[in-house]
Symmetry: D2
Subunit: 345 residues, 4 copies
C-alpha cells in the first residue's frame, strides 16, 4: 500500500520532534515535508533541529530540507506542533488550501465548528468538520496535555454513573513546557504551583469533549470543574489526583469495572496508534507512577489507580497520561488515523 | 538565667538530629541528655549519629555520651523524635516518671486526654494535661507534618467564616520519610502518589485540633475532609493544594485579610521559636514554592498563596510548611515554650 | 530450535530483575528457575520480587515459584545477580554441580583461573575455564560496571597505539548501588564523591582484562591506573572522563578511526546481545550524555566523545556505558552467548 | 563609621542579585546604585529583577530605582555582574571615570595589567592596578568559579612542595550558568560533559594567579594543566576531583597539614567577607559534598577531602567551592575589602 504523504508544521520544536519520532515508521503515513520558521528554512532538518530525543533521528528525515510553513499540493494531511503565537493563522491557511490540519495548539480548540477530538471519547465530533468553511480542508484539534488523561478517566464514569463535579490537582512534567522551557534552577528541589493558562483549559475543554453533538454543534456537558496545576521535577508524564461526584450511587468495584471494560471505536478499528486498552487500572496502592507507567502501550494508555471514597465528593483516584505522546503528538496522529479510516480524506 | 535542662529521645534519628540543631542555641533550654536505642548507648553522639545536616554538629553535643531511653531526675522536659514502633511505651514511661514529653510521634496524638497542640491554633487544649494520670508528668503531641500547615491556614478561615469542607492534595518532601527513607531510584524523575497512613492523619487530626474544649475533653470540629498525599522530589517543605467550602459567603480579600491579620498568643508571649507572623500570604502567582520559602521565619511560618474561586467548593489556594521544622522538631519546641511560659512546669 | 534452559540466582534483586527483563524474549535461552533467599522461596516471583522496571514483568515469570539457591539438573547455565556477601560460596556450589555460572559479582573476578570476560575485548580468556577444577561446570565473571565501558574504550587504543597510563573520573548512576541503594536525601541537589571499594576495582580489573593469555594464566597488562569515583543523580548510565598516555604518538583522527573501526568476534558471531557497533564516537561536543545515549544498541554500546589533547597526559575524552545492562545483566548474557557459540556447553 | 557607597552593575542578573544579597548588611559598604540595561532603567528594582533567592529581597533595595550603567560621582566602587557580552566596554568606562571596578566577568581577567585576585593567594598582585592607565580608577577581577576553589587548594601545596602538573575534572552546579541557564530537560537524570569555554579558563587562570609578580607584571607559573568540565544536577557548589604532581616528595600528612595550617593576609586583616579558615580538610571519606558543605564559613571556605595517592600523578583529592559566593559575588566583595583595607581607595 502506498503511504499517505504528510507534513509536519513547526517540525523543529519539541512537539514537532515528537511527530518526527512517532511518524518515522508509521504504517500509513510518510513524512514528505518538515516545515518551520524562516530561520530554519533551507537547512537540512538535522541542522535546523536540535534533536534531543533518546530515539535516534531517522537519517532520511535528518537529510530533508526544511520548508517554509506554506501549503503545497504534495500532501493533504499536516500535523501542527506550531507555537500558539503563530498557529492560529498558519493552520487556517493550510485548511483553506485543502489540508486536514491535525493541530496540537490551543488556538482553534474552542471554535464551535472545530472538533476537540479524542477517538476513544467523542469520535462522532469529527462530523463538525463538515461545518467548517474550508472547502476540502479542515482543522481538527486534540486537547491540552492535562485534559486528555482526565477526560479518558472520566468518560467511562460519565457513561455509567453520570458526573456532577470534578476536582483535580495536577503534577505536570517538564516536557509540557517545551524546550528549553523550565529552568533547572526553578525546579530542582522544588515544585512550582502555577502554570500559566493551564487551569482554565483543564476546567473548560472537558465540557466540550464530553458534550453531546446536536446536529451541527456541541452541547457542552454540565459538570462543575476545578483544577489546580503544578509543575514537578518529572521529565514526562502528567500525574493527577482527581475527585468526582457522580449522579448516582455506585460501588468502587463498579467504577473499576467501568474502567477495565472500557474500549472504543479506536480499538475496534485497530488504529495503529491506538492503545490496546485505553485505560489500565492498577491494584497496587503505589501505582501509577510517571517513570514506571508513562510509556505503557506506546505511551497512549491512561493509567488509573488508588480508587477510594472521598470525604468531600464521592470518590477519588490517581491518573497518569504521557503528556508529549498521548497528550500531544501521539494524540494528533491517532486523530488522523480516525479521519483516514472513516473516509474523510 | 539558668537554662532549663532537657533530654532528646531518639536523638540519633532524623527528627532527633533536628532537635539537636534547633536546641543548640536555644535561649531557654539546654540539652543535657541525648537518648537513643541500645545500639548507640555509651558512644559519643558524634559517632552514634550519622549527622547529615548542613548546619555543623555543635561540638558540645557531639562529645556527649548517648544515654538509654530511661528517665532520670536531671530534666523534666523530654523531646521525643522516637519512631512510632517504640514511642508509645517509652513516652508513657517518661511521663509517669514526671517528665513533660513533647512528642512528635503519632502514638498518643488521638488519645482523648493528650493535647494535639499548635500554640497559634489551640493553646487552650494544653489544659488537657490535667486530665492525664501521670502525676507531675504529661504527654503533649504536635500534629503530623502535613496536618500542621493545613490547620494553620484553615484556622483564620474557620474563625471568620466557618468551615464546612476541605479537600487537600499534598506534595510532600522526602525528609518527611526519615533517613534513609525514600530510595533515590523511586523518586528521581518521578512522583509517588501514596504515603502509608498519611491521608488518614490529615483527615482526622485537624478535627481534633480545630475542636472546642468542653471542660475535660475536646469536641471535634465537624468538617468534611478529604486528603490525597503524594511524595515529590523535594528535600524539605510540604506544598499543599487546598479547596474549602465556607459556612458563609466571603470575598477573596476578606480571606486574605484574615490570613494577614492572624496572630496568636504564641506571638504575644514572644515565644522564641514562634514565627513573627504565623501566616505569610504571597501576591505573586508563582508563590509559595518549597525551595524559596520553606525557611521563612526560621522555618516556622506557614506560606499561603494563589487564592482563587473553586468551581466545586468555594475557594482554593496553595500552602507551604517546613515539614521537619514547623512540622516536627520546631513545632514540639514551640509547644514546650508555651508550656513553660504558661507555668505548667 | 529448543531453547537452552537457564536459572537466575538472586532473581528478586535489582540485577536479578534485569536478568529477567533481558532474558524474557531471548532467542536462545529460556528461564526455567528463579532462585533467591529463603525469605522468597515458595512464593510466586511476582510476590517475592518488588518489580520496579518500567518494562512490565512477563506473566510467565511472574507466576513462577521462587526456588532456593541450590543447583538442579534442569539447567546448566546459571546467571548470578547474587550479593557479594553470599555469591562466593553459592556460585562455587553451582559450578561444582556442573553449571556454568555467569556471575556479576566481584567475588571470583580476580581468581587466577576465572575469566573476567568481555567478548569484544578478551574472548580468548574464556579458555581459562579449562583450568578450573569444577568438572563440567565453571565460573565466568563480567567486570564492574565502571570498568567495562572504560576497557571497551581503551582496547582499540591499546591495540593501535599502546597504553602507558590512564586517569579516570567517574560520575556513576544510582542504579549501580542496587535497590533501595542511595537515599534520595543523600543525592538530590548533591554529588557524593565516594563509592566504597569502587576505585580499587576500576584500577585493577582493566589490567587483567587487557592482559595477555599465556597458556594457563593471564599476564596482567602494565598500565598506570588512577580512578576517582563519584555518585551523581542519574538513574542509569555511568559517565567517565578519561585521560590516557599512549606508547606512541598518534593523531586525534587516528584514535577516532580506531574507535569507529573497532569490531570483534562478538559482532562476527552475531551474538544476539552484542551491540551492532561496540563503540559509537560522537562528533557533537555536548555528547555523549547518560539520558540520551545509555540505551543505544539495546544498552550494550559504549559511547565516546570529546576527544581532545590533555595538558598532562596525551589525550582526554568522555565515555558512557549503561551500568545495569552492559555493566551487569546484559554483559553476563553476552558472555553466556559466547560460551554457547564457542561450544563450551 | 560612614559606610562606603557602592554601585552594582548588572544588578538584576543572577550575579547581580547575589551582590545585593551579600551587600545588604555589609559593615563597610552601602549600595547606593543598582545599574542595569535599558529595559530595566527607571523601574523599582523589585520589579526589574525577578528575585529568586530564598533570602528575602531587602526592602530598601527593592524600592531603589534602577539606573543606567553609567558612572556617577556618588560612588567610587562598582561591583560588576555584567554579562561578558557587554562587560568589557562598560567596565572600562567606569574605570576611566575614576571607579574601582570589581569585576566578575571574564573580559579583562587576562589583561596584563589587571589583577586576577584572590586575597588569600596573590594579594600582592593588587599592585598591578598602578600600571593601569585609568587615573584614579582601576579594574580588579576575580577568577572563574571553577578556578577559584582549585587555586585555593593548590596554593598551600605549591608553597610547600612545588607543583608540576594538575589534572582536574569538575562537576559544576547549575547556578554557574546563570538564570534561566540550563534547561531542566537537559539535566534531570543527566550529566552534560561540556561547558563552553570553561576548560580553557581553568587551565590558564591558575597560571596567572599562582604566578610571581616581577615589578610591573606577572610571570606565569609553569604547571601542566588539564581540565574536564561537567554540568551536574546540583543547585550551588562546584565539586572537583584533582590529581597533582608535586616537585618534591611529601607524605599525605604533610599535605593535610599544609591545608589545615593555611591562612593569609585576608584572615589577618579580618576582612569581613573572609572565611575564618580558608581551607577545611575533612577526614570523612564521603566528604565534602555540595549540599552539606557549600555554605561553610558564609560560603567562602574551600572544602577539601579524600587525599590519597594517585597511580598516575602523585596525589589526588576532592575539593568544593561555592560558585556564586566564593566563585563570584563573595569573591569580588572580598577583593574590594582588601582594596579598601590596603588603602588603595
Amino acid at each position: 500500500m502506498t503511504k499517505i504523504p504528510v507534513a509536519i508544521l513547526g517540525a523543529t520544536g519539541s512537539v514537532g520532534q515528537k511527530f518526527v519520532e512517532l511518524l518515522a515508521d508509521h504504517p500509513w503515513f510518510e513524512i514528505v515535508a518538515v516545515c518551520a520558521s524562516e530561520r530554519s528554512v533551507g537547512k537540512p532538518y538535522r541542522e535546523a533541529a536540535s534533536w534531543f530525543s533518546a530515539a535516534p533521528l531517522p537519517p532520511r528525515i535528518g537529510a530533508m530540507m526544511v520548508s517554509p510553513c506554506e501549503p503545497t499540493s504534495e500532501y493533504r494531511i499536516a500535523f501542527s506542533g506550531l507555537d500558539s503565537s503563530v498557529a492560529g493563522e498558519i493552520e487556517t491557511t493550510f485548511a483553506k488550501a485543502g489540508c486536514f490540519v491535525l493541530s496540537n495548539s490551543k488556538n482553534h480548540r474552542m471554535d464551535v465548528d472545530v472538533p476537540l477530538l479524542i477517538p476513544e471519547v467523542n469520535p462522532d465530533h469529527l462530523e463538525l468538520v463538515r461545518m467548517q468553511n474550508f472547502g476540502k480542508g479542515a482543522i481538527i484539534t486534540n486537547p491540552n496535555c492535562s485534559t486528555i488523561g482526565l477526560v479518558m478517566a472520566l468518560k467511562p464514569l460519565m457513561d455509567a454513573f453520570g458526573l456532577e463535579a470534578v476536582s483535580v490537582v495536577t503534577m505536570q512534567a517538564l516536557s509540557g513546557a517545551g524546550y528549553p522551557g523550565v529552568s533547572s534552577l526553578d525546579i530542582l528541589d522544588n515544585v512550582v504551583p502555577f502554570i500559566g493558562g493551564e487551569e482554565a483549559k483543564v476546567e473548560t475543554e472537558p465540557l466540550k469533549i464530553l458534550g453531546a453533538r446536536r446536529e451541527n454543534c456541541i452541547e457542552n456537558a454540565v459538570i462543575k470543574m476545578s483544577a489546580s496545576c503544578n509543575r514537578v521535577a518529572v521529565l514526562d508524564g502528567h500525574l493527577e489526583c482527581a475527585s468526582v461526584k457522580l449522579s448516582r450511587q455506585a460501588l468502587a468495584d463498579e467504577l473499576i469495572a467501568a474502567w477495565r471494560g472500557f474500549t472504543s471505536e479506536a480499538q475496534a478499528l485497530e488504529l495503529p496508534m491506538a492503545p490496546l486498552h485505553p485505560i489500565y487500572y492498577f491494584d497496587e496502592e503505589k501505582f501509577p507512577q510517571p517513570r514506571l507507567h508513562r510509556n505503557l502501550d506506546k505511551g497512549m494508555a491512561t493509567c488509573v489507580g488508588r480508587l477510594r471514597p472521598c470525604g468531600v465528593l464521592d470518590y477519588k483516584f490517581v491518573l497518569l497520561s504521557h503528556n508529549t505522546i498521548r497528550g500531544a503528538a501521539g494524540g494528533a496522529i491517532l486523530n488522523a488515523e480516525l479521519l483516514v479510516k472513516k473516509g474523510y480524506l
